[in-house]
Amino acid sequence: MIRITELHKYYSDFHLFKGLSIDVERGEVLVLIGPSGSGKSTFLRCINGLEIFQKGSILVDGGEIHGLAKERLSAFERDSIRKVRLKVGMVFQHFNLFPHKTALQNIIEAPVHVLGLDKKEAEERAMSLLKKVKLEGMKDMYPENLSGGEKQRVAIARALAMKPEAMLFDEPTSSLDPETVGEVLTIMKDLAGEGMTMVVATHEMKFAEDVADRAAVFDKGEIIETGIPEEIFKNPSKERTRAFLSRVLDR
């Protein structure tokens, strides 16, 4: 479903990804774990075309993004990235809801203006998604009046409204109050249960263990090991994994 081949990413002189390759199967839930700054977020942002990379390719359900050497993209390149984005939804650490729009307006914005749905149809779709994230009563609230957990659930509904083939989560609970983390994880768990293909960068080890089919451990821009989360946690094969796990699990 998602195939990443030989991904190279430079930040001017700094070589972050030195040829990353990984496949994600349809319906699979892959978690990306590893220390901060190890490249998990950047990796997700590459899949969504928010970061350009210099070499390699990313295939998403037939759509493709190639490595590019320049900053300014041509109209054709922008369009092929857009095709990939239409297949994958993205959820951000800081929600990035549109502050000048209500919860409902946030959700229908892209379906109406990108997919060309008529407003009524988009609103019906949005209401069922709000129900799914248990926020049907909040449809007319502006983001500034929502809690962090509520904002993130609206953001998930907003991404789902585009009916993506896969969802990318970039540390979705990292900026939440502890008491609202659970409500977001529950939604994500439901989503996984429905068979959504998901790639999740997270520090929630419990979620990784319970929900993910596979974990990929990032360190310094490399994937140092992949495997079933439970097994990795119990018996990591790499010393760097062990060091990372002991730091997070001890907390």
């Binding site: 922008r78 857009r82 239409l86 993205m90 000048h100 914005e109 500034e144 991404a159």
Partner: protein
């Protein structure tokens, strides 16, 4: 004659413009995120983020302003400029060995102007005349440069001992200053294009566009004809230039000016007999009777000896009329009839109000239209700069930097007087609106940029991740938020534009400031008219500034 340039310092010294800006400037604090914007109004841009004006209630501001205003007025009323000059000027110049005479070299030939061969040296018939007078006084002479309109106030202030620069002896001026006996009899000369057939004399001017200089005798004559479309200029070169390219149908100005500037031009010709007649006199402070007597004696000597005739002949200014000046001496003032061109009876200040209000209306029209242009052009500029192709982005940045980095005045000159050289002739109104609009567009673009850059990057990313094209994301997500941030500083800019619009008076637009200076120069009521004009500006801009502040507070609440 003649002319004025740039800002009228009188407006400034009444404290009008600083006052109007006070409520805006004093409340602004800098927000770190926006400091990078180096626009001249960057503090305004940031004020909206800084939550500053909440601290001081609106009413308190109002009182503060009124108090300041009253304070300034009192200050002006009680400072009598005359009191500083108690000393007799004749004694003063004799003891200092130098007489300081005010004139405006910018006004030009043949009065006083920079020598084309050596621009640091001033020449002209009045320079020669002053050389002779100073020699007769046994002292040196020194020229003091100031704009022509301001010569008499400068004399009153005491910066100069006398003013000699084609100053016509008029009843209004005689109320303010004393004049020597006339040293030149001028007439007004009508000039038209060489191929002109319709205009043969002054009475043909009805319904025609006729150029002249601000506050000149010719202006009074034209007003007397009635239904002439009078275009007021600040310099004497420009009206003839506009005449030759067809912006005007005729120019009426003092003969010395016409002789120097129009006669050599093959595109132009003199038409009709000289109109009107008046006298140039040397202006002195009232009460300087001894100086006046001394100078009158010297003038008489110079006329009798033929030295003045030589000077005038050297500059091509001698004609038979001047003979009367020689024979006229000895009769003194009483022998000369007053020139009949100024509305001397209607000098009550309030009678000027309709004219000022007309100017104010023009100020509003120009400001509104140029602001509309600035708002939209600025938007295009910022979008090209931030999101356009490399070339477009560079071009837009260059536009912004050039327009912000050069004076508006120069831009207006180039637009109005420069473009005809490459075949583009804009009328004054269009040039004024385009000039102001294009200048402010550069500032608006920077305000928008600050607004756009204040929107977190995540907003664009979220929009893109939902499959929006960049243009759609801009239109639906980024700009609506950026506009909220930009509206208060844009409103503040509008207030600034309001006052900057006074600069278009240099391209023959009669707006409020120009109306003021026309009236003030002819009536000599600089103070009263200045006050009324300042109040009119204030009355127009203060509601706007209140509106801006209200908007600022309301929008701040709306931002998360």
């Amino acid at each position: 004659m003649k002319r004025k340039r740039y800002y009228n310092f009188k407006l400034d010294c009444f404290g009008a413009s600083p006052l109007a800006m006070t409520p805006l400037r004093t409340v602004s604090l800098r927000a770190p995120s926006l400091v990078s914007l180096r626009a001249k109004r960057s503090n305004l841009v940031s004020s909206l983020r800084a939550g500053s004006c909440e601290a001081i209630p609106l009413l308190k501001f109002l009182y503060l302003n009124i108090a300041l205003f009253i304070f300034l007025i009192t200050l002006i009323l009680f400072s009598n400029p005359q009191s500083a000059i108690a000393q007799d000027t004749l004694e003063k110049i004799k003891s200092s060995g130098e007489i300081v005479w005010g004139s405006d070299a910018e006004g030009g030939a043949p009065y006083i102007f920079p020598d084309p061969e050596n621009p640091s040296r001033l020449i002209g018939f009045e320079v020669d005349l002053m050389d002779a007078i100073a020699r007769e006084l046994g002292i040196k002479q020194r020229q003091f440069q100031n704009s022509w309109d301001s010569l008499i106030p400068t004399l009153e202030r005491g910066d100069i001992d006398i003013a000699i620069n084609g100053i016509e002896i008029t009843p209004a001026r005689k109320e303010k200053v004393a004049f020597s006996n006339p040293y030149y009899i001028y007439t007004e000369q009508l000039v038209v294009r060489a191929k002109e057939e319709r205009v043969k004399e002054a009475s043909d001017l009805k319904g025609k566009k006729v150029g002249t200089l601000s506050g000149s005798a010719a202006q009074g004559i034209l007003e007397g004809i009635g239904s002439v479309d009078i275009k007021i200029y600040s310099g004497q070169v420009e009206p003839y230039k506009d005449l030759s390219i067809g912006r005007l149908d005729a120019v009426l100005l003092d003969l010395p000016i016409a002789a120097y500037y129009a006669k050599p031009n093959p595109l132009l010709k003199f038409t009709g007999a000289p109109i009107g007649e008046g006298y140039y006199g040397i202006a002195m402070r009232k009460g300087d009777d001894r100086l006046k007597e001394e100078i009158n004696k010297i003038l008489e000597r110079l006329f009798k000896s033929g030295e003045i005739k030589n000077i005038y002949e050297k500059w091509g200014l001698w004609n038979s009329s001047q003979e009367r000046l020689i024979s006229g001496f000895g009769i003194r003032d009483s022998g000369f009839k007053e020139p009949q061109f100024l509305p001397s009876e209607s000098l009550r200040v309030l009678s000027f109000l309709p004219f000022l209000l007309k100017g104010a209306l023009m100020t509003i029209i120009i400001s509104v239209l140029s602001m509309i242009l600035a708002v939209f052009l600025g938007l295009i500029l910022v979008i090209l700069r931030l999101y356009g192709s490399r070339i477009l982005s560079i071009l837009s940045t260059a536009y912004i930097e050039i327009y912000r980095g050069t004076p508006l005045l120069i831009q207006l000159y180039i637009l109005y007087y420069g473009l005809p050289n490459i075949g583009i002739t804009l009328n004054a109104f269009t040039a004024a609106v385009i000039g102001l609009g294009m200048n402010y567009a550069a500032y608006e673009a920077e305000i928008y940029r600050a607004g756009i850059e204040a929107i977190p990057k995540g907003q664009m990313e979220a929009a893109l991740s939902l499959g929006m094209r960049r243009s759609l994301a801009l239109q639906r997500i980024i700009l609506p938020q950026a506009v909220k941030i930009a509206i208060p500083p844009v409103t503040n800019d509008f207030i600034a534009l309001f006052k900057d619009s006074s600069l278009v008076s240099v391209i023959a637009m009669v707006e409020l400031t120009k109306s003021y200076s026309i009236l003030a120069v002819s009536s000599m009521k600089f103070f009263e008219l200045g006050l009324i004009t300042a109040l009119l500006y204030f009355g127009m801009s203060y509601p706007l500034s209140l509106f801006a502040r209200r908007l600022e507070r309301r929008l701040k609440r709306g931002l998360s």
